[in-house]
Amino acid sequence: MADVTSSRQGTQTEDKPQIDMNMVAIAMHRRSRRLGLYFWIPMIWLVIVAVACIFAPFWGLPPADEIDWVYIQSPPVEGHPLGTDNLGRDLLSRIVWGGRVSLTVGFAAPFIGVGLGLILGLIAGYYRGWADEVIGILIDAWLAIPGLVVLLLFSVVFGGSLFMVCVSLGLLFIPTAARITRAATLNYAGREFVLAAKAMGASDFRIMRKEIFPNIIWPLIAFILIDIPIAIVIEGALSFLGLSVKAPTPSWGGIIAEGREVLSTYPHIAMYPTLVMFVTVLSFNLVGDAIRRRLADVREGAI
């Protein structure tokens, strides 16, 4: 109400300089919604990590499995900026190469999981009936086994290749993704534009792809953002147990596990990878949170 009256006054007495409170409110709102330091600082860290990992072979690191017999379990020295591990391998290089594994899994697994969950959720939510029931039971069964146990089973059955780690980790995200998709699909399957498409003779596949999918994509993107740090953490736990990628390939959890054995004498071996992993996961959480809030604004048409 106040806005309406103030703008009307503004048009009536034009010689008088008037502050349009409406515009001020919009400006303040924009300002508050600008991505702040809590977005940019973690983002910069993530970019540094990503660049370091992607270009790991090119910036002159010693190979991750090369043993330097002069420095074994050494604190930071010339040539080894973060020191060396139990076997005298360069810690910085191992962390960077381990980061490749963590980041690959962190990005691949959520996409695999959400992709498969999307298909299941669409089928369950669109067709309903027995398909819904069967998928519901499968999802409940999947949720009744602790995630780590599923991964243990998979690592035993399918061995420790990077691809299989991504796939089996991705499987963990299916239940939630499928539930989100199903709920959203139920919401849209009865709407007028879907009925209209049906009346025009569109196939089920076309309706799902062209009518429903664009509407349900946003919650799924938000879900992927949440899942990236989770996937990195779980991969860390798995490789901590020695059940992720096979031994000579470094991974963050694996380095921490090796460092644990000499924690009392050489704490730096466990502490550096712990620190890097913590900061990275925290950064993913912060960035994901900022983007998610932004997405919510976009969806509400506030932008």
């Binding site: 039971i137 499968l138 409940d140 069964a141 949720l143 009744a144 086994i145 602790p146 995630g147 780590l148 146990v149 243990l152 089973l153 998979f154 690592s155 035993v156 059955v157 740090p229 953490v233 860390g236 736990a237 901590f240 147990l241 059940l243 959890g253 921490i256 644990r260 924690l263 009392s264 704490p267 466990a270 502490m271 712990t274 992993m277 913590f278 996961v281 925290l282 959480n285 912060l286 949170d289």
Partner: protein, 317 residues
Amino acid sequence: MRYLLYRLRRLAIVLGVVTFITFLLVNVLPGDVAYEMAGMDSTEEEVQEIREELGLNRPVLIRYVEWVGGVFTGDWGTSYINKENVWDAVTDRFPVSFELMLLAQILALSMAIPAGMASAFRPNGRADRIIGALAFASVSMPSFMTAILLIFVFALGLGWLPATGYEPLSTGLWANLKPMILPALSLALVEWTILMRTLRVEMISVLQENYIALARAKGMSNLRILWVHALRPSSFSMITLLGLQVARLLGGTIIIEQIFGIPGIGRLLIHAVYTRDFIVIQGCVTFFALAFVTANFLVDVAYAWLDPRVRTGGSHG
């Protein structure tokens, strides 16, 4: 009642599916346990003989049916490696894991409830922002990292608590609890954030209710309002979460028991995984699923008990 019966039927089906999938997974493996038992330099005949002996050469489906029959009569099979009865092995170790999980959950709740209240009392206030930041940090910290940091500080640095080990309850309560504190704390430091956030959201809306305003108007102290009047109606989602968290905790105990050398069910499972002792893996997974399903059923019951509306309003969902 009808709702609970529906849940029960559904849970039975879920258990059936879980055990069957696990059985399939475990039994289609390349390189089965017969190889492991026969040793490195054994002939194909010897391996076949062991397979024959264990009944591994029969179709998977028949073995599954037999195994299910065994589960109902209390015969969960015997370990391939050390001939231990699986049911005994699981029930021997479960109390240890249960104690750890219970302790972790108690610690998590005792952090989450005061923190959630403090945040909900003045949303976006200073306390809320500090607690929110702490929660953000600790959610980015997986339990194995927390465990390592805790060991580093409290066991190696300060020397207050032992880094590893386990004492049975018969040696005294404190002796039993002492090595359990760090493992439970490392689990709790991950779990409390989720509980805290749910409690905070629900409590913010409860604090808007009329009866809270009335209590305030009567001059009741803030602490009493929060603990006596607001806590119970705001704890429903948190209770539901407690049930769902059982699965996470079970997963968490696996890795925590491994780090702290606690002889619980998680170590049994990991050991079985390393030695490919499939019948034990099968037993552990079944037990995990059973525990999870039971916990969630209990949560449904607790829900009906906590919220009179569920009891009288009939079925929901």
